[in-house]
Amino acid sequence: MDKPELTGGYIFDIQGFSVHDGPGCRTLIFLKGCPLRCLWCSNPEGIRPYPEPLYNESKCLFDLFCLDACQFNAITLEGENELRRLEFEREKCSKCSTYDCEKACLTRALAKGGSFITVGSLYSKIRHDRQYWGDKGGITLTGGEPFAQPEFTLALLKTCFEALIHTAVETCGDVPWISIERSLPWLEWIFFDLKHMDETAHKKLTASSNRLILENARRIADSFNGRLIFRLPLVPGLNDSEENIRSTADFILSTGRDELNILPVHHLGREKYLLSGFTYKLPGFEMTSRDKLLEARNRFSELGLRCYLGSETPF
């Protein structure tokens, strides 16, 4: 990493004035690519590691200008009448740098999800936001999974840290330890997700084992000097059993840390599944109820954790 400013990566958004993901007012940077496939994922457009077309069918006029414009023949019209929709060969799109389809679209039914950016030009954007954060604010890397692009994340964190910017990251932890370890010196704050303690259940919910995740959690707890807050997205009926609550609490306490932030699961991201060509698999669209959340918090508190609901984390 001789020239961190030239290190590049894929992001899909930058969001200023974020108030729930770390101390103070913050700028969030959303990195593309995630090893997990959580059923309730609210940012499906962040799952694939490369830029992709986001297609909003309800705005499509089916004038097919985008088909003509595409140089890779990646777009096809499927179905007829009411059922017609455009399909995209997203592998081809990943190689595209011009996105002529987006430019050809009159109604903005098509948009480019994600773009390549160097740490240098990303930093110059972040720098503009500094004056708005106040005393405690900074940046939070999220996504997707920031450590899925380890070189980029490392270079970005180091650049910001050295510029005296407060740095935080939100991670699912399912990455090789080395990807996390190298970034730790440049980090002040970590939100670490624990979706389920049981390996089989975890696989069912996220299509991935939790073994590496738990191992990484222990290692961070051991070697990280900053604040580590675990996060549990509470999905009714899937990970809110007494057993899982107890084993989550046991696990956290066994790492020597004691802070947990419970997030209510919502289904507001479901409309975005269509945009990125995924299917929303979670049955029912019920939000985690306030009662369930309070119940879980009380239970965790009894078990000895400092437990915060939603945006109530004291920063």
């Binding site: 969001q15 004035f17 609210s42 909003n56 903005r108 948009a111 106040g134």
Partner: protein, 888 residues
Amino acid sequence: MDNFSESINYYGHKPEEQVEDREKKLRPTERANNARELYFSAKSSISMEFPYWYTRRWEELEGDVTIIRRAESLKAGFEHLTPVIYPGELLTMGKACYLRGSYPMPWLSEAFFMAAEDKLYKEALESGKLTADTFTTVGKGGGNVTKSVGNVISIAGKFGLRVEEMPVMLEVAKKWKDRSVDDIGHKYEQLVPGYKEKEAIMRSVICMFDSGYTLPQGREVINYYYPLQYGIDGIISICEEGMNEVAGYPEMDRLYFYKSVIIMLQGIRSWIRNYAAEARFMASIEQDEKQKSEYLEMGLRLDHISSNPPRDFHDALQLLWIFHVGVLNEDAISGLSPGRVGQVLYPFWKRDMDKGFMDREKTIELLECMRIKFTEIDCFASMGVVGGVLSGNTFNNLCIGGLKKDGTSAANELEMLILETGISCETPQPTLSVLYDEKSPEEFLLKGIECTKAGAGYPAWVNNQVAMEFLLNNYGHEGMQLEEARAWAIGGCLESSPGSWMPLNLDGEIHWIPGGSAPATSVGVHFLSLPKILETVIFDGMDMRSGERIFPSHGYKLETFEELWQGFQDYFSRAVHVLTLTNNIQHDAWRKISPSLVNSMLKPDCLEVGRDIGQQGSRFNTTFNVESCGNTTLVNSLASLKKNVYEEKNFSLEAYRKAILENFGYHTAQETGSYSLVDQKPAEHYSEYRKIHRMSLDAPKFGNDDPYVDSIFKLWEDWFCEMTHNYRSLYDQPMYACQISVSTHGPMGAVTLATPDGRLSGTTFSDGSVSAYPGTDKHGPYALFSSATCWNHSQSQNSQLNMKIHPSVVKGREGSRKFLELIRAYMRKGGFHVQFNIVDSRMLKQAQEDPDKFRSLLVRVAGFTQYWVELGKQIQDEVIARTEYEEL
């Protein structure tokens, strides 16, 4: 633009299915709640009492000195106002005998109610004077009388008039034909070379309206000092001394001024005493003992202050209110701001608190009653003014915070309670503005946040230092120094207005209280439609909507961006030039025919020098300005042309002309019935224009921290703010820039064809002056702030930034602190003003469908707060479309 941002620009954070309610809930006191319920059931009503007696007296005194005639007429008006006191009132008196009463002032303009008579209306229309009215809709619900019902006639779609008063109205109006400020001004403004061009400018709605006869006063801060210090009899003594000094000596005008003030004050004194008598009468027939004693106490209070200075806080508040209404009754006025009332009343309040005569609960009750009283104010002006500019709002801006005379923070405990009652008793008036200063105490600012979060739309956050810098720059030559600059406040919607410190002597101790010391601002060139001017530049001087030539050919081929910009500067300057001259003539007619007496008497130093404000009796007089509308739409359009025509040469200017005329292949807003871009529908031939439309939409947009377009914004600002100084007001002072759109961006947008930024024909312009166009600021508030502050705001009387924030973003304790961080950051960047709608857009849509359920829903619109149901549909559509920064 479309609502693209809504579908993908937030992350897993679509708003909840259930509409999120506002966080802070406080109830008004029972007394205030009853009064507010009464207000909700009241309709805007016209009473002819005041104008009848005014006109009758005026006729009787034909041939007398004008200012004396004026004083006698006002006196007759005040004396004959029927007193009406409502049960439970702690503060009483109002503009007219109805709860939401007001009346036309035919001495300013009679054309409006003559409109009932077809012929006259047509004449007026032909002369271009009423064009704005045709394109304005006033909100359907609420207290507006939108349709004639039974024996009540709807006037201007807003006011109700009893049928039997109709003949009186017409008869009184006829007396003023060819004699009103409007008619006299109109007669002489035609002497201005280039007057025809002015008429064309008004017909095309490049300019919204003439201020001289529509709203000659307002957009200023009142000064309550003299009545509070001297009482009515005391002021009369001052005038008598003045008369003795000047009677028979040269400069005789002073004699008539002093005499007029005395006559006018006698009228006000009778008016107060009529109310005192009514209070005693009400007591005599009241069964309830508590109410009976309240009436008796009210009678005693009114009797006392009809002559003497106030004894206590309650007296002071009542007297202040009387003079506020007194000023409103002499002219059609919008934006007569009470100013820094919390600091004016503080000495009285503190003394009562120390003596134990007053407590927190009683204070809150009184302050809530004050809120209701200010909300009852209605302003009768023409439809174009009431709906198109004001949205029914009267802009009584109450300022809190700022600095004292000695430069320390001025925020006090009474102002904390003013904020508290702003939460507990949500009403549109008085709207609140925090004068933010780095010296303001944290707890005061956090109280302001609490009030902002309550979601009534106030307080707005205004930068104390930026305003002081502006005032020193523009009033320095009149002798304003730093100390006096600190006495400023917002006049009206958002006009920085000069103030002075007055020595209030209470029990031998001097308290320096702030108050306004200049006449009306925003009386210059009233709202210039920047996008419409650009349209005429592109079409070489033609208004293509009507096919009429507005300006002579500019003679440029428009082959470079510089030529285009030069063409814009040329036409803009032409418009400012001719409008300044005609406007000066109208205001000259106003000051000659209808000189201000109540307001003049209050403003320092009129009583000292013996001149009214029209004769520059007040301390500062550099108040005329040039107002812009549609800044961001103009700048986005320039950026689009620069990129697509001049730099990348994607299209010729001819292609743009065609696209503009064909509305980029879309149906017009008039066809779709919505003025919001979101609802516009493509027509059959859209495909011809899809490319140019798309590339216009894709051109850089203001509000994204993009130097390409921000540099054009700065180019505009630096030029505009400077060029205004080249024009001279009636008082031979340089003018300055004023940048608030109020509600004009709706009706002005309605008559403007599609613009090169991709905005479609007839749709609303960008609001405020540094707000992004709805839906085009895609990088959040930080980027918007950076764009907004790409120029120095103290060059202008104001700038305006409107933001809509979802309640969830600023929830809870953390939310409050972070919200303050956000505002503080903008202020530190030199932003002049920011205000927030803390509201869920779906709640607004529900309210649009079911107005009755949302009778009390308040929203913030372009500089003021108003009941949602009383807003015009254009503005409703626009508020909904404004970018919402939300996350869970």
